[in-house]
């Protein structure tokens, strides 16, 4: 603390500081929390930046946030504060989400930001585990007779501002020695209108996005999502630099969802698994509390996550899976044991 004052004031300040330090140490001996986690504990809830996309984050009939990333956020709230409701979702547009995260507007960005080296180094963000593997696609009218992005020389391509998509599509055309006219649109709703009004010959965005967008078109069957993916889009939670412990809580909340699916634990059968003799399952669910205690978290956090939200597969299927209006296949987002990329490090 920088300040001036008489020696008495200094002594009093020193005393107060010592008492505070001692009190903090007594209250939570394990808490070596950084500034973000401290702020969360002080506030009593997490602030999470989210976007606006059906299935991932959208208000339901009763005006409550629902979606894939919302559930990830609730899992983190269980780990950090023991309560899925202790998280507040703050809407944030693609353009301002990273600056807003940096300025402390929220503690974590759950809007499906792509993990990139620039963001992770120059811009000062840490990324949690990839929770959704995506890739940038191209949506074109069938009438154009286009079968590959390479046929789009000279086309007008609509892009949403502030996403990594802008650079990917420029790289793609440069690589193929072709030209294109970019048309950037910020609003999600207008994006579709532009295609229907023939203002653009193709839309480009993450494939999952375009899949949803296609169903919203007036005549979805007149449009086709080209099979090629022109980029890798690993979507992960992002946090600011400077609070390693907070990052670890985020990491292991996502891993818990994945690991639960690998064990075959669901929200329906999690209580039966409490009787399971397998030591790794006992550690995971906190029946054997040693690992959780050593890690400085509620040993039961994984149990609570699965009990409340289900495992990764349940979260995926409930929000964006084949049975929903969104209708995604798991694809790369299957467990590593089933040919996907989801892999959780061991809970030990």
């Amino acid at each position: 603390m920088v300040g001036r004052g008489s020696p008495t004031v200094w002594t009093v300040r020193g005393l107060v500081a010592t008492v505070l330090l001692l009190a903090t140490a007594l209250v939570s001996s394990a808490a070596k929390a950084g500034p973000t986690l401290d702020a969360i504990h002080k506030r009593g809830f997490i602030k999470a930046g989210v976007g606006s996309q059906p299935g991932f984050f959208a208000p339901d009939g009763a005006g409550r946030w629902q979606g894939f990333w919302i559930d990830i956020g609730r899992a983190i709230a269980i780990t950090a504060l023991g309560d899925p409701e202790k998280i507040e979702f703050v809407s944030s547009s693609p353009q301002q989400r990273l600056p807003a995260l940096k300025s402390g507007e929220f503690d974590i960005l759950l809007s499906g930001a792509t993990q990139t080296i620039t963001r992770a180094t120059q811009q000062g963000f840490h990324f949690g585990p990839v929770a959704f593997y995506d890739g940038q696609g191209l949506l074109v009218p069938k009438a154009a007779g286009v079968s590959s992005g390479k046929d789009l020389d000279g086309a007008t391509v609509c892009i949403q501002t502030g996403t990594t998509g802008e650079q990917n599509i420029a790289d793609f055309f440069r690589k193929n020695g072709a030209t294109f006219k970019p048309l950037t649109i910020e609003d999600t709703g207008e994006f579709l209108k532009a295609l229907e009004a023939n203002r653009c010959d193709a839309l480009t965005q993450d494939g999952s996005d375009l899949g949803i967008k296609r169903t919203q078109l007036r005549n979805p069957d007149d449009y086709v999502l080209l099979p090629e993916r022109i980029s890798k889009e690993p979507l992960a939670p992002a946090v600011r630099w400077g609070d390693d412990r907070w990052l670890e809580l985020v990491n292991w909340s996502v891993y818990a969802l994945i690991q639960a699916e690998e064990f075959g634990i669901t929200s329906a059968n999690v209580d039966q698994f409490l009787e399971n003799p397998d030591p790794s399952i006992r550690r995971f669910l906190g029946v054997d509390a040693s690992v959780g205690t050593a890690a400085g978290v509620d040993p039961k956090f994984a149990y609570k996550i699965v009990k409340t939200l289900g495992n990764y597969g349940e979260v995926f299927d409930r929000n964006v899976g084949p049975e929903t209006r969104i209708g995604f296949e798991r694809g790369l987002n299957r467990l590593w044991t089933q040919g996907g990329l989801l892999y959780a490090p061991p809970f030990r």
């Binding site: 703050v90 301002q96 300025s103 209006r325």
Partner: protein, 351 residues
């Protein structure tokens, strides 16, 4: 003029002479071609009840969507069970608007009364001892749009008045400062000011202090529109001959008294149409709050169309929001016309 005469005059104006008749017919045909698809979409082919599936089977508008999501569009993420509080706050704000707009209520106690009503609306939205606490991040929809409009008008007006007087001051330093502020703000788009309030203001605040995002947005809007208020008020002040002040001083008014009782009433009356226009502009500008993640009426309408159960009914959502904005803005502009007439009558001494 009798009704009969009016019809005859209209007929003569529209169809008198072959040129007029041809022009009128062509315009009517054109209007039909433009309006027919809209009427077909909005009324004839529209779906009024049912679910998203029923809507998908029809070509027209899906008003059932607006019905199902009405509460969300109006109140956004405000807790569902507490919607009556948001509705009560909305009623309070509309009452306040009517009070502010009625010349009969323009008196010294209107300012404290408006503050009380504004505070009342905030308490209704935010909660009181014994009621569920609703953080401002969950406020949204129409009450929020009106709250921000009224609050930034009532904050921006006095600041603008001070700036206008400062810019006409004889003292050079206040004059330069006010002019510099006004020109700086008028040279900056509102969206940039909002981003600044959202992203830069938290960094400028001492650590540990979190100023509410809504408050930051509100301060930004009030400070922004204060500059526009200042220029409008300055126009009114400059339109008034100096002899008015001189006469008032000669009659023994103090400088403040002359300003309050002689100069300002005439100056403000002269610029009333511009002030009403600015007020309408402020209401429409509240939609920019969406850029910093605040759910005003327009943003809530858009978010409503993201519900997977009602996916993609953006046209209906926007059309409904447009109707509400139109009703408010058209009402305000009609009010402006009425007020102008009334003030002109008053200034002619016919009460």
């Amino acid at each position: 003029m009798s009704e009969d005469g009016l019809i005859r005059r209209l007929w003569a104006g529209l169809f008198g002479g072959w040129a007029n008749a041809a022009l009128t017919s062509a315009l009517l045909v054109g209007a039909w071609f433009a309006l027919e698809p809209i009427i077909r979409w909005a009324l004839i082919d529209a779906t009024w009840t049912g679910d998203a599936k029923a809507c998908a089977e029809q070509d027209g508008a899906c008003w059932a969507f607006v019905g199902a999501k009405l509460r969300f569009i109006l109140f956004a993420f405000y807790p569902f069970d507490e919607h009556w509080r948001a509705a009560a706050a909305l009623a309070l704000l509309l009452t306040l608007l009517v009070l502010l707009a009625t010349p009969r209520f323009w008196s010294a106690w209107l300012a404290p009364l408006s503050l009380v009503l504004l505070a009342g609306a905030c308490v209704l939205l935010g909660g009181w001892p014994g009621a569920t606490d609703v953080p401002s991040s969950q406020w949204g929809g129409l009450p929020l749009s009106l709250l921000v409009t009224i609050a930034s008008l009532s904050l921006g007006f006095p600041i603008g008045l001070a700036l206008a007087l400062g810019r006409r001051s004889d003292l050079p330093v206040p004059r330069w400062l006010c002019a510099a502020y006004i020109e700086l703000v008028r040279g900056t788009p509102l969206i940039a000011v909002l981003y600044l309030a959202m992203l830069a203001m938290p960094l400028a605040l001492p650590p540990g202090i979190e100023l509410d995002k809504l408050v930051r947005g509100l301060i930004a809007m009030a400070l922004f529109f204060a500059a526009y208020f200042a220029e409008i008020i300055r126009a009114g002040l400059q339109g008034l001959p100096d002899s008015q002040t001189e006469a008032a001083l000669a009659l023994g008014f103090s400088r403040i008294g002359a300003l309050r009782h002689v100069v300002l009433p005439q100056a403000l009356r002269a610029v009333m149409p511009a002030l009403v226009t600015l007020a309408i502009g402020v209401l429409q500008s509240t939609t920019l709050l969406a850029a910093i993640g605040i759910f005003d009426l327009l943003n809530a309408s858009r978010a409503a169309a993201n519900d997977p159960a009602w996916l993609g009914f953006y046209d209906e959502a926007y059309a409904f929001a447009a109707l509400i904005y139109f009703a408010l803005c058209f009402g305000a502009s009609r009010y402006g016309v009425w007020l102008e007439k009334r003030l002109n009558r008053a200034s002619e001494g016919v009460r």
